[in-house]
């Protein structure tokens, strides 16, 4: 039951990302949107290679040098389908 975890808050302002990483399963994916894409500036995600996705427009808008798989909104939808469930960190 792989989970896609969706984050939209900056990891430098709160601890959603830290908590998410704590309970992230080995088959789970991480989709960064909005200010959560700032997490790509931090090397903490290096061990998740291949499982980190980011919304391309949010990355470009913020001038982030992304080491993640960039997706557009149709890609977002496809990911939501590909994973068994989606957990949005509101």
């Amino acid at each position: 039951m792989a989970t896609l975890h969706v984050l939209s808050h900056s990891p430098f302002a709160d601890n959603r990302l830290a908590s998410c990483l704590r309970l992230l399963g080995k088959d789970d994916g991480l989709l960064l949107t909005g200010d959560a894409v700032y997490a790509l500036l931090n090397a903490d995600l290096a061990h998740l290679q291949g499982r980190v996705y980011a919304l391309e427009e949010d990355v470009r808008a913020r001038s982030i040098d992304a080491d993640a798989q960039l997706v557009d909104y149709p890609g977002f939808v496809q990911l939501s389908i590909d994973f068994d469930k989606v957990n949005t960190w509101l």
Binding site: M1, T3, S19, R22, L23, K85, N87, T88
Partner: protein, 119 residues
């Protein structure tokens, strides 16, 4: 078979509508016999502290609703051990019977449910 749902509640009791909404979802789901679990994570563990006085800040008590969870059939209740430790709390300070889980058990917990929601 109804889909099981894990509700992760991670906000302090008076921080906004999140904690009460998470609880309302759990109680409503429990009333309809949905297979539900609740995990208290991060500041969410503060909801479980014994001895709160919500009237001091013109708020309603969450404790009575929390303690109603088992009566509504929601008895899969969990607390993150690391969240308690970070805040200097022991499980004896809590007024809800809940299983304290270490980080390595959290991923398995999330995995076990059909759906998960974080408030």
């Amino acid at each position: 078979m109804a889909k099981s749902l894990l509700i992760i509640s991670r906000q302090a009791p008076w921080s906004g509508p999140g904690p009460r909404e998470a609880l309302d979802i759990a109680l409503a789901g429990g009333a309809f016999d949905l297979p539900l679990g609740m995990l208290f994570l991060d500041d969410g563990v503060f909801q479980l502290l014994a001895g709160q006085a919500p009237d001091q800040v013109q708020q309603k008590d969450l404790t009575a609703n929390l303690q109603a969870l088992p009566m509504f059939g929601v008895d899969e209740l969990f607390v993150a051990a690391s969240s308690l430790r970070e805040r200097g709390l022991g499980s004896t300070a809590l007024n809800l019977e809940a299983e304290v889980l270490e980080d390595d058990a959290l991923a398995a917990l999330v995995d076990r449910f059909d759906q998960v929601m974080t408030l």
